[in-house]
């Protein structure tokens, strides 16, 4: 069982990385483009409000980041701390990032 979990986590880590790579680039490019006319809440909300594209993109971004970060955190905790139950901590981290991130996405769309 343990072996299958590790392999699933390996697959999830790679898959989330594949999703994150283009999204991070798109996010950075958008930021550079957005600040050209001065950065303001109104300007950002004007782009994201009611936009299925930006809402969906950031919802996916957060899903991938929460999975990717949590799996990495689990490895760090297991190797660098004597903590037992690193998986539980990582799972809680994943859920927290998902909840906070999706809440933020809901607020700007």
């Amino acid at each position: 069982m343990s072996g299958r979990l590790e392999v699933w986590l390996f697959a999830a880590q790679r898959l989330s990385a594949m999703i994150l790579a283009p999204l991070v680039l798109l996010h950075l490019a958008t930021m550079i483009y957005a600040v050209q006319d001065g950065l303001s809440a109104a300007e950002i909300l004007g782009r994201t409000r009611g936009s299925v594209f930006w809402g969906g993109l950031y919802a996916l971004f957060i899903a991938a980041a929460s999975v990717h970060g949590a799996i990495g955190l689990r490895a760090v905790l297991r190797e660098w701390t004597p903590l037992r139950g690193a998986g539980v901590v990582a799972m809680a981290f994943c859920v927290a990032i998902l909840a906070l991130g999706w809440r933020a996405v809901a607020a700007i769309t």
Binding site: S2, G3, R4, L5, E6, V7, W8, L9, F10, A11, A75, R78, E79, W80
Partner: protein, 244 residues
């Protein structure tokens, strides 16, 4: 002869003495042409202090018994020339990292080889003694993958170089996993896919960070990292096939 010439002809050698608790002891050893680190240790043991404990056998880079930390790096001492690694005439020689020290430069390899057993790194023949020789195509992808990893002499240098081993004592380690990779690619093995389950656990191939300390230090220029990456791919394929 000037003092400088004299200094050039000697080496200052610091050698670890004791067990896990111990200290470096300094020796002055004559510098010879084509001298190896093993020559230096042997000189100390035979001429200066017969109580020095160390391990060696073949002296020609085949047996894998003489690995030690030399100036902080794991090396096969019989094939490491002093001229290549001496730091201003100084050499520090210590027992292999990540291994329990028995005494001085001799380490306990038991746990290391137990991991080979735990990883299932044992060839299980498909054919019996009565069967004829297996014809293995030397150019098949599997045979090529096995060939790239097969020349391991079991010296433990990769195990000493691996930070994941130092963080997680249960980690099977680059040597055992590299050996399993050769078996996964051995068409003579009774069940190559069966070798994947023992290395798919949380102390197996997925614990590797692909840092490549093993590949940098392997005296035979193998890349256990590449073998472990192969195991990661194969375990994923086995999972999707329902074989894990």
């Amino acid at each position: 002869m000037s003092a400088m010439d004299e200094a050039a002809k000697t080496l200052q050698v610091d050698i670890w003495r004791g067990g896990a608790q111990g200290a470096f002891q300094s020796f002055t050893v004559p510098h010879e042409v084509s001298q190896t680190v093993l020559d230096v240790v042997t000189y100390v043991q035979r001429r200066l202090d017969p109580t020095l404990s160390y391990r060696f056998s073949c002296r020609v880079g085949m047996c894998g018994t003489c690995a030690m930390m030399v100036n902080g790096r794991p090396r096969w001492t019989c094939r490491t020339h002093v001229d290549r690694i001496a730091d201003d005439g100084r050499i520090a020689i210590a027992p292999l990292r990540n291994f329990p020290v028995i005494k001085d430069l001799a380490v306990d390899m038991t746990a290391f080889f137990d991991k080979w057993r735990d990883a299932g790194a044992r060839f299980q023949p498909r054919d019996g003694a009565a069967d004829s020789f297996a014809n293995v195509d030397p150019n098949s992808p599997a045979r090529r993958a096995a060939s790239d990893a097969i020349e391991c002499i079991g010296c433990g240098i990769c195990h000493a170089a691996c930070d994941v081993v130092s963080w997680n004592p249960d980690y099977l380690g680059p040597a055992a996993l590299n050996r399993v990779w050769t078996l996964v690619n051995d068409e003579r093995d009774a069940d190559p896919a069966a070798h994947l389950a023992p290395v798919a656990g949380d102390a197996g191939c997925h614990a590797c960070h692909s840092q490549q300390g093993c590949a940098v230090h392997c005296p035979n220029s193998l890349s256990p990292t590449a073998s472990i990456a192969g195991l990661k791919r194969q375990t994923l394929a086995a999972l999707f096939r329902g074989q894990l």
